[in-house]
């Protein structure tokens, strides 16, 4: 029994974190520095714990919970995302000081829920985990100190999320009706043989809707721009990175259920992918707010990552895993700059980036690399991710899809360049002071930049890990 519980250590550790912050939230006097360092330390240890348990394998809770390389790799990514978001919380000005422990508490529960999600091997477990992560975020979004825009964003998020959940539950009932089981291992044996029937395909698609909401895939993307803008910068960073990574993982698990031989499913995913890319990129062009721009860019990236998933091959899943990691790093780098430039916790207009090259050359360079990475320009990890995804799609013969995706990448370049232009070319009207960038922030920036470039140029080892994880999935 003892060794079974070791499988559950990363999740238990997250639970412990939640408990600790629950205790801190009880204290009468707010102490942001204590909260920050407690969170930083615990999140750092969390990454170590997740890394240490990466090789574990087994099942728990009557086979409802699967621990394999696939889930463990994603848990490492989630722990890293959590840690990096906490790193950005040195000046958590967007949230009132007395709410700081709650902020960390719900980040912990959300991370816990996502870790449960990537390991779930049973439909109801999936649903419960998904709801736990969503409810944590429903609370985090309106936590922002401000003028009501946060509440609007929170309600919008809740409404769209509740609808997506309802649709998903409906889908789950179809799947259960068709296969008479809620266990994924049993579904995967039954479903491929009946995937041609309307009930199975409709059930699978409706079920995917719940996850598409998380990933902000068209047509479940409406919440993204408002929530990105309305939530505190750090919360947005978390939603934009860790939450997306978990969504990619669970979509892969569900799509893998189909066995890879459903033409309908592929057609629907191709359509959604193209719609997401095109809509995200076109609307992003006119954005003036940096976080809204990143929201629309995330919608288009959801489209790119779907290309890897809909290839439904080992290399396709591996490329999607690689892409998720690349996206995590690049987006966190963008949010690092957003958080540092808007250090009073306000929203960041793109025009406010003016003069950044003078105010902080390091941040300007990091932003340029991250943004070019998002656009898919080598030698960054973003290019390597796109390359792998497109190669996987090409293996399946989706030439047109790849060409459309590349045209989209070119369109996206325009607004990414506008960001670079603001940071490198524009000069602000009034003389702005040099941005104070602390040594730890500098170190963090350099580490992120190094990861982006080094894994872009030497993807070999990371790719091997992604391939091994994809094999565990199939």
């Amino acid at each position: 029994m003892m060794n079974l519980w070791t499988l559950f250590i990363p999740e238990l550790y997250c639970l412990l974190m939640a408990v600790v912050f629950f205790g801190l939230a009880m204290s009468a006097t707010p102490n942001p520095r204590r909260d920050y360092f407690a969170a930083l330390f615990m999140a750092g240890v969390g990454v170590v714990v997740a890394l240490a348990s990466v090789r574990l394998e087994g099942t728990l809770f009557f086979e409802a919970y699967r621990v394999d390389l696939f889930s463990q790799v994603f848990k490492v990514m989630l722990a890293m995302g959590f840690f990096l978001v906490v790193c950005l919380c040195t000046e958590l000005n967007g949230i009132e000081e007395r709410h700081h422990p709650e902020f960390y508490l719900f980040l912990s529960t959300c991370t816990l829920a996502m870790m449960l999600l990537v390991s779930s091997g049973e439909l109801l477990t999936i649903y419960v985990a998904l709801e736990l992560s969503s409810y944590s975020l429903y609370i985090l979004v309106p936590l922002r100190r401000g003028d009501g825009i946060d509440v609007e964003a929170g309600i919008k998020y809740l409404m769209v999320g509740a609808c997506a959940s309802a649709v998903m539950l409906f889908g789950l009932s179809y799947i259960f009706g068709v296969t008479h089981t809620t266990y994924l291992v049993e579904i995967i044996q039954v479903l491929p043989s009946v995937i041609g029937t309307p009930a199975a395909i409709v059930g699978l698609l409706l079920m995917l809707c719940g996850f598409f909401f998380k990933l902000a895939v068209f047509p479940f993307h409406f919440w993204a721009p408002d929530v990105y803008q309305g939530a505190a910068n750090q919360v947005t960073a978390y939603i934009a990175t860790a939450s997306k990574v978990a969504a990619v993982a669970i979509i892969m698990r569900v799509v893998a259920l189909s066995g890879g031989n459903s033409k309908y499913l592929v057609d629907v995913l191709v359509t959604l992918s193209i719609a997401s890319m095109t809509l995200g990129n076109l609307v992003a062009i006119v954005q003036k707010d940096m976080k809204r721009l990143l929201a629309y860019s995330s919608i288009s990236h959801a489209g790119y990552v779907l290309i890897g998933i809909l290839s439904m091959s080992a290399s396709g899943y591996a490329s999607a895993i690689f892409y998720a990691l690349a996206y995590l790093v690049m987006n966190l780098c963008c949010f690092l700059v957003v958080v540092k430039v808007a250090h009073d916790g306000s929203d960041l207009k793109i025009a406010q980036l003016a003069g950044l090259h003078r105010r902080s050359p390091l941040l300007a360079m990091a932003l340029m690399l991250a943004v070019f990475g998002l656009a898919g320009i080598p030698p960054t990890i973003g290019f390597t991710g796109k390359f792998l995804v497109f190669a996987a799609a090409m293996e399946k013969g989706y030439v047109t899809l790849v060409i459309i995706a590349m045209i989209n990448a070119t369109i996206s370049l325009y607004y990414y360049i506008l960001v670079v232009k603001a940071a490198y070319l524009m000069e602000s009207d009034e003389e702005l002071p040099v941005l104070p960038v602390s040594i730890p922030t500098k170190v963090l920036t350099v580490v992120l930049v190094t990861v982006m470039v080094v894994f872009g140029v030497f993807p070999h080892h990371l790719l091997e890990v992604a391939r091994a994880a994809a094999r565990a999935l199939m």
Binding site: I377, F390, E395, I417, L425, L463
Partner: protein
């Protein structure tokens, strides 16, 4: 022998990358130090590339100075550099233009550190494309060489610089949006699971249909950068907006990257597609030659004049490639080299005149040869080379292309030759209006080019004359690659 295995090609590449890193570490205030560091790290590639050009064993032929390391196992990606008769002239050209470009920007004061950092990034990409024999790396280096153009033009440029920079970047990266699917298409359909060009170019790897499909994507994708008509419109705008050394590198080297990509990727991998689409290539190239010459006639801005003459001259390269003959290939590669040096000298001279007079409008200048005889001399020399005056490098290149074109496509060849006369007319008209006639008293006090700043122009002028007098030095090397290639065609 140990020295024979020295990785010269990687040394060229690393010298650019190390130069970039060193510049990033130096504080931005130490401008003089940054310039000297740039000079040293741009000198090394020039010396090495010239050494390689002359050290290449012509009797042996084939790929030499090969460096091959397995990069990504599961996808068959190799770090694979090699030199042959096609890329040696290009490497030498890049070395020379980079070095002279750095010297030309010696007077720069604005954001020096970033300027040279971006320049080295760009040139590392250019060298990478020219020396790489792996499709993956060719694409990576190709994109690396493109995106620094945006800040380089938008920050240090002139005349509608933001528009020019954005237009150029989007156009060129739209080209790469066609190239990547084509590369992946070839990779997947070869069934060899490798990006190694030498393995992929074996006969019978691709069916004729695959070759035709991939060729047209690659030709259009790379062709945008080569300024193929009607995708050339970014080129004059971008050249006008760019600062002097960036114009030199861009028109001199980067446009050749497009033509070289057509040769190395499209023609090497899809020879049947090449023969199939050659007619179209010839039509587009002829259009470019004629169009460039006539539009150039109407320009009043010196840099626009050079920009359109580039379109016209790159059309000659395209026409050479379209002939599918040894002479055509020789001429095309020679023209890439000759045009690169010539345009670099033109932009460099205009840059000096603009720096002193703050105008590049032809009607406002006039009689410059009386005010700045030396600076004018360089421009006139380069202009004469562009017209194709014998004993200057371009003459031989154009001669070869036109002989080949006249044999293969008599009508289009004849049209192109007529356009060349128009081109000569417009260049001479520019020279006459700008450098002769009444001198503009307003500029009479301006100093002429002195010895120090004249060094980069001297180097470029010397190269033009040298290869004009001894074309066989160049042709013998290209011949080693082109003859076996044409003979090996199916």
């Amino acid at each position: 022998m140990e020295f024979a295995n020295f990785p010269y090609l990687s040394a060229i590449l690393f010298s650019c990358v190390v130069g970039l890193l060193v510049i990033l570490v130096i504080p931005a205030e130490r401008k003089m130090l940054i310039k000297w560091v740039s000079l040293v790290f741009s000198g090394i590639p020039m010396v090495l590339s010239i050494y390689l050009f002359f050290a290449y064993d012509k009797a042996q032929g084939g790929l030499q100075f090969v460096e091959k390391v397995l990069w990504v196992d599961s996808m068959g990606i190799y770090y694979f550099n090699a030199a042959d008769g096609f890329n040696l002239p290009m490497l030498m050209l890049t070395g020379i233009v980079l070095f002279t470009g750095v010297l030309t920007m010696w007077e720069l004061e604005l954001r020096v550190k970033e300027f040279f950092a971006f320049t080295f990034l760009l040139v590392a990409g250019v060298f990478g494309v020219f020396m790489s024999m792996d499709l993956f790396f060719i694409f990576v280096w190709y994109d690396v060489s493109l995106f620094p153009m945006y800040p380089l033009i938008a920050i240090w440029g002139s005349t509608r610089k933001e528009y020019g920079a954005m237009k150029l970047t989007i156009y060129l990266l739209a080209g790469s949006a066609l190239i990547l699917p084509a590369i992946l298409y070839l990779f997947v359909n070869s069934g060899l699971n490798t990006f190694d060009i030498v393995a992929l170019m074996q006969p019978g790897v691709f069916t004729p249909f695959q070759q035709k499909f991939a060729f047209i994507l690659l030709y259009l994708g790379f062709g945008i950068l080569a300024g193929v008509w009607p995708f050339h419109t970014w080129s004059p705008v971008g050249h006008v907006a760019a600062p002097t050394s960036v114009s030199m590198i861009h028109a001199g080297v980067l446009m050749k990257l497009g033509a070289f990509g057509v040769l190395r990727v499209a023609i090497f991998l899809c020879p049947e597609g090449w023969q199939y689409w050659a007619q179209l290539m010839a039509v587009l190239a002829t259009c470019g030659i004629v169009y460039g010459a006539f539009v150039g006639l109407a320009q009043t801005d010196l840099k626009y004049v050079i920009g359109y003459s580039s379109v016209s001259h790159m059309g000659i390269v395209g026409l050479g490639l379209a002939t599918v003959t040894v002479d055509g290939l020789n001429g095309a590669v020679f023209q890439m080299f000759a045009h690169g040096v010539m345009t670099a000298l033109l932009f460099s001279s205009v840059g000096y005149i603009y720096e002193k007079t703050h105008t590049k409008m032809i009607p406002e200048l006039g009689g410059m040869s009386k005010i700045m005889p030396v600076a004018s001399g360089y421009f006139i020399l380069a202009a004469l080379a562009g017209i194709g005056v014998p004993c200057l490098a371009s003459f031989w290149a154009e001669l070869l292309v036109f002989i080949a074109a006249f044999k293969t496509y008599p009508v289009r060849g004849a049209l192109a030759i007529c356009a060349l006369v128009v081109g000569a007319l417009f260049m001479l008209r520019v020279v006459q209006r700008t450098f002769y006639g009444e001198k503009n008293e307003q500029f009479a006090h301006l100093p002429d080019l002195t010895f120090g700043p004249g060094i980069p122009r001297m180097i470029l002028a010397a190269v033009i004359v040298l290869f004009g007098l001894f074309p066989s030095v160049m042709l013998d090397v290209i011949q080693v690659a082109s003859v076996p290639f044409i003979n090996g065609l199916p």
